[in-house]
Amino acid sequence: MKVRLSLLQQFGLFLIVLILVALLPAIASTYLITFVLTLFMYIALAYSWNFISGYTGYISFGQIALFGIGSYSCAILILKWHIHWLLAAAMGSIIAGAFAIPLGLIMLRLKGPYFAVGMMGLFQFLAAVAATWKSMTKGATGIYLPPVSAVAYIYFAFFGLALALFLATWTLERSVFGLRLRTVKEDEEGAESLGINTTFYKVFAFVVSAMGCGFAGGIQVFYVSYVDPVTAFPAVLNIMMIIMCLLGGMGTCWGPVMGAVLLGQVSEFLWAHFPYVYLILYGCLLAFIIMFMPSGIMGYFHKRKILRGGIHTVLPNLGSIK
């Protein structure tokens, strides 16, 4: 079996999804809306993580640090300057991105496990800073914001973010820029010898990832109307975005959305039906995935040749090459 959709079919499918998403808040129950909204956040985070770790191979165990920076920036902007929440979230995203430039230049010198653990340490460090810097963050008491009136706005904000990150990934997969970004994962030294400034490429990916995480953090903080060090730096979400990517397939265009939707639903189902043992079942499922599908769902499809594997870079027509 081989699945291959024409560009028109792909566009049609995309349009149907778009219409469904747009209509959902009008027809669905509040429970369903909040559930889908959370899925969108998962998708956005999974794509953010995929940007740095999926494409460059620098596995980050602390990308949630930038979610936290976005959360706090947004909360403080709303509280102190009464900025519109969406603008505040966008500014939180920019702050997280700006923070990621020096951070990336320093952290991305570390390789493999050192980078992974370094990022984890950073996220713990920032949580500690948030807990102690009381004049700014109000410490463990947390910052309270006015409650949200309409969930639909949050829903569309998360959808927009997830869509933007998906489109960015889609474009990346088809660009020479993306090809160069992948060389970081394949062989950095080899890429350098070809005139590719690998530092620029990986820091760029890190900053995009940070902006995605920061934006998600900003929207989330407005949604829950509260932020403290634990909600700004949620350890569970930190791991979830990694696992979603692994499940869907790292460094693929469709992997993060598949992983996020699937895992989001499975964890909701298990939580609702087996409240006492759901974490055990969840763990078993993950072990199963890692043992039998180490390269994720997309990797499985590529291996079975159901979908075209590898890169989709649009290269010039080679018909005349022979």
Binding site: L179, E186, E189, S193, I196, T313, L318
Partner: protein
Amino acid sequence: MNETILSTHHLTKRFGGLLAVNRCSFDVRRKSITGLIGPNGAGKTTMFNLICGNLKPTTGEIFFQGKKITGHSPHRLARLGVGRTFQLSRVFKGMTVWENLFLVPPPADSLNTSVNKAKDLLHAVGLDQLLNAYAGTLSYGQQKLLEFARAFMMDPKLVLLDEIFAGLNPEETERQIKTICSFRDQTQTTFVVIDHAVGVVLRLCEWIVVMNQGEIIAQGSSREIENNEKVIEAYFGSSSLESLMEEEG
């Protein structure tokens, strides 16, 4: 045309207590094919890594086209025109042959010229039938050819070839020698070659630098090197170089 393109001046690299390269000075003439030979551990690859910016020298200077390039980053040097291939092939295995060439940032030319350039290069090394094959599925010899072709995507002025003949069969070796010579004639590129196949290096290169234990022990034309006692001693203790060449066929 005896102008110098690359010169090193008292280049030294120390790894802790080990002097990998010790006060080495040599010049490479423009458009020449220069060989860098020496027994295992002589410091040849370290020398390449210093020139290409992968390692920073402890002391000493490197000049490329008259400009000091000591301590430049590898990608900057690559853009200045210093290309290289690696001892163990470093093609991007998860990408196709075509993608491997295409991702190289073109020096200044348009997409069309770089497409044509890639075509010509693949044709020159005989990989034009394997465009869409993943580089990881190629034989080791083919990967080396791909790496060689790829180095020319940036229009380098100087290309350092680290054991380009290792893993090639005799037929491929002959073809590679021809390719290097024709590239030199057509593109005016200068080559520096490291290889263990001393016979091939003596045949290919007009100027040879011999290293042993981090130091340059001899420089000269093939004939001078063949009869240099220090070189013979470094390789065999006291035997003659001819016997090694015969062994290699």
